[in-house]
């Protein structure tokens, strides 16, 4: 619990802040540079979210808010480094056997739990066995079912034996480790008090949670890497985004995610630009139009290609995302080795689209601007979910572009629950406009393998290609990154060629952060990946305790 009794909040008028920024620039020069080693955690970083956290156990956290907070409280064996590479976290190093079946982790020896107990290999074994126990109800269990045996070799060595090689293993084993000495006494981890007042090994320890209002984390000065630069990490719940924006500009919060409109047009005022720095990084998401391949019209490859050629992705990005996006051609992260940068298919070409449609037998026989075939007009219904303005804008633009090549498209916007239930699960749609979040591990099984068409899989467009199935399986078994990348490049090319989706664009993740924070490093891994290295210059501190 927090011990300090007093707090002093220093309010600075805007002009003073601007001079302070100049001072900060001076203080960043080598002469005055701050030595990280003797930095004492100070000040507080206040961030907000529209919803409360749910559960503070990494194996159960299934919403972005809880997962983000778990990331500050817990550590995994591995973690994702600055450039999306896998680096050791609780593990000093690891060895993978030649057949890829055995991974041995050598753990760091100076790690302590927040309650002072030592972290050992037993905690690791306990954590993954808890995930594999169906009574825990971890939603991520399927990422670990290939594990045959977990063996504690000695206090600081743990060995995982797999039933078959699994390329996602190192990423999945980065799941936050929970303390055995705490949870072995808990009959039901879901309902344990420690799921809401957690004990981890991470740079921040849990301090206070006022449901629906805020959560406070306090710097763990004994953190095994180094003490974090910011003393308190505060997370406030502000459900309304326009109020959130006013709080950011007036200093009530120090950071928030900005949408493209706010980023471009609301950040020009002196209040904003004097206080807030903007950062923009490529987001791990892509937006696409998926075609139901069981649909008689859309099962024709020429038609899907034509629809893809008819969309001007650049214009789409400029109009719907205010320019904050990158064209997409395949299902991997654009900044990863798995994405084949040489695939540049479906550059905007309406003439080619018309030719392809004509080849497929679609002609405008009655001169009304809409194509016909066998007496039927080319009509297509595009379904998307409610509550996402950007997506609705994209749908409207695509509607206009398709009309130019003679395709009449109708847009249907449906509330999320009904959208899943009536359209996705029952596969009752012609085309859908949606986005995928792309995980670090390039595993396409759940979305593109033909096994995932039925049984609640996510291949709702019914894409089935024997070769792609084999490549996905091979990719899952290939632990060598270069070889796996080569397999993924092949998949990428086939998917682009067969156009089951029109891959539209990758979005940007945009964030505004108060200028008093230094050490922010926008990287492929995002803006917050090195949060423990952030600090506030002594003169800039706002909250003094």
């Amino acid at each position: 619990m927090v011990l300090c009794k007093n707090i002093k909040i220093i309010k600075r008028p805007l002009f003073a802040l601007q001079t302070a920024v100049v001072l900060l620039l001076v203080s960043c020069s080598p002469l005055y540079s701050q030595e990280k080693e003797d930095a004492i955690p100070r000040d507080a970083y206040v961030i907000s979210s529209i919803g409360d956290a749910r559960v503070l156990l990494p194996m159960l956290a299934d919403d972005a808010t809880s997962a983000g907070i778990c990331g500050l409280i817990y550590n995994g064996l591995t973690k994702i480094g600055r450039d999306l590479n896998i680096v050791g976290d609780l593990a000093e190093r690891w060895e993978i056997s030649g057949d890829g079946l055995i991974i041995t982790f050598y753990l760091k020896k100076n790690v302590k739990w927040h309650d002072g107990a030592a972290f050992t290999a037993d905690d690791v074994k306990f954590s993954f066995e808890k995930i594999l126990d169906t009574a825990s109800g971890s939603p991520y269990i399927s990422g670990y079912t290939d594990i045959k045996k977990i063996e504690v070799v000695d206090k600081y060595t743990v060995r995982f034996e797999y039933k078959q090689p699994y390329s996602g293993a190192l990423v999945k084993l980065g799941m936050g480790i929970i303390p055995k000495h705490i949870f072995e006494k808990e009959p039901d981890i879901r309902r344990s008090v420690y799921a809401r007042a957690p004990i981890g090994t991470g740079p921040y320890r849990f301090s206070k949670w006022e449901s629906g209002q805020y959560m406070i984390l306090e710097a763990n000065e004994g953190y095994f890497e180094h003490a974090p630069g910011i003393k308190y990490y505060v997370f406030r719940i502000i459900p309304d985004q326009s109020v959130e924006f006013l709080e950011l500009v007036s200093g009530g919060i120090d950071a928030m995610r900005l949408n493209s409109y706010q980023y471009k047009y609301r950040s020009e005022t002196p209040e904003f630009s004097g206080r807030i720095n903007k950062y923009s990084t490529l987001a791990p998401t892509y937006t696409y139009i998926g075609y139901n391949l069981k649909d008689p019209v859309l099962s024709d490859l020429r038609v899907r290609k034509a629809l893809s050629y008819a969309i001007n992705k650049k214009e789409l990005i400029d109009a719907a995302l205010f320019g904050f996006g990158e064209p997409c051609t395949g299902p991997f992260r654009k900044d990863s080795v798995y994405y084949d940068q040489s695939v540049t298919m479906y550059e905007y070409d309406p003439e080619k689209a018309k030719t392809l449609l004509a080849e497929a037998g679609w002609k405008d026989t009655d001169g009304d601007g809409i194509l016909e075939k066998d007496g039927k007009e080319f009509r297509i219904e595009l379904v998307t979910n409610q509550g996402n303005q950007e997506r609705e804008d994209v749908a409207t633009i695509v509607q206009r572009e398709w009309a130019k090549v003679g395709v009449k498209m109708e847009i249907k916007v449906v509330a999320w629950a009904a959208f899943l239930d009536q359209f996705i699960d029952k596969k009752k749609f012609q085309a859908i406009l949606l986005a995928w979040v792309i995980p670090i591990d390039p595993d396409l099984y759940a979305v593109w393998h033909s096994d995932s068409i039925e049984n609640g899989g996510l291949n709702s467009i019914s894409y089935s290609n024997k070769e792609v199935d084999k490549l996905i399986e091979a990719s899952r078994r290939e632990l060598n990154v270069e070889k796996n990348a080569a397999i993924c490049h092949k998949i990428h090319r086939i998917l682009a060629e067969e156009a089951p989706y029109t891959f539209l664009f990758f979005g940007y993740s945009q964030i505004g952060i108060n200028k008093r924070f230094s050490g922010v490093d926008p990287a492929p891994a995002g803006v917050g990946y090195n949060f423990e290295d952030w600090y506030v210059d002594e003169k800039e501190v706002k909250y003094k305790f």
Partner: protein, 326 residues
Amino acid sequence: MRKYIIKRLLLVIPMLIGISFLLFLVMHLSPSDPTAVRYGLNPEVSNSARENFNKLYGLDKPFLEQYLNWMGRFARMDFGNSFIDDAPVREKILSRLPATLLLEMVSLFVILLISLPLGITSAVKKGTKFDNISTITVFIGYAMPTFWLALVLIYIFGYKLEWFPISGMNPWYFQYLSGFDKIKDVLWHLVLPVAATSFGSLAVLSRYSRSSMIEIMEQQYIMTARAKGLTENRIIYVHALKNALLPVVTILGLSLPGLISGSFIFETIFAWPGMGRLGYEAIMNYDYPVVMGVSVMATLLTLFGILIADITYAFVDPRIRYERKK
């Protein structure tokens, strides 16, 4: 009277069963389910993990069995645990109730304080400039979209003038404040939300009290009072007012459930940690136990609110009797 109250209280039981059954049915009839909404398009969550979740929370059982299980727990005053964070529903409600009660009760107090004198004065000064202006003002408040008014108040008084906090009930450093500063801080945070919630609601009470006052003022006993030569103040505040407030009693009784169920719109805009947001978030997430907990509480309070209004009526209005005199 006692017999009547007991009869009414006993009636609550079948009504509660009927209402809760309908609620349960409506929730299950709506498309989708808790698991689909939560894990719908998450490639990292396999189908077997989703089935396991259903099993863990008893969602794989038939509808009637689920309802009877709920009813059984409810009879023992156990509302179950939330699907979303596994916290006991009772605790979730209790942690949110104080914030809503505080905001709603202060608002109600402010509404009464302003709208009753406003309505009565309007009635007494019917047709004057005062009546017209107050009528127009309360109707503007009534017609104005409440979320817009709230945002305008925040923008002007919170953001531009910095007189009041923009949002929230307690700042995160609340625990560092001294006792007196804590109270001051809460009051300071209350101003904008109370202003926003009250302004829109002035119309209802002030119009009710105005029209009932006008009706009373035309009664013959008022004429008698005037003929007796009583002062106008005595006529209005002693003779007319008591009777004019009768309909207000009903409205107050019916506003009881509103005191605890809160307002989703205001709580969202002002980041107020109350029941309205809890209920709304539960509905959006298909969190059945929380939805049931919140709505059953609202149902109970509605039923009691009506009962209390009826009983108070019998006390304040001698014309109303619930039992035949022997």
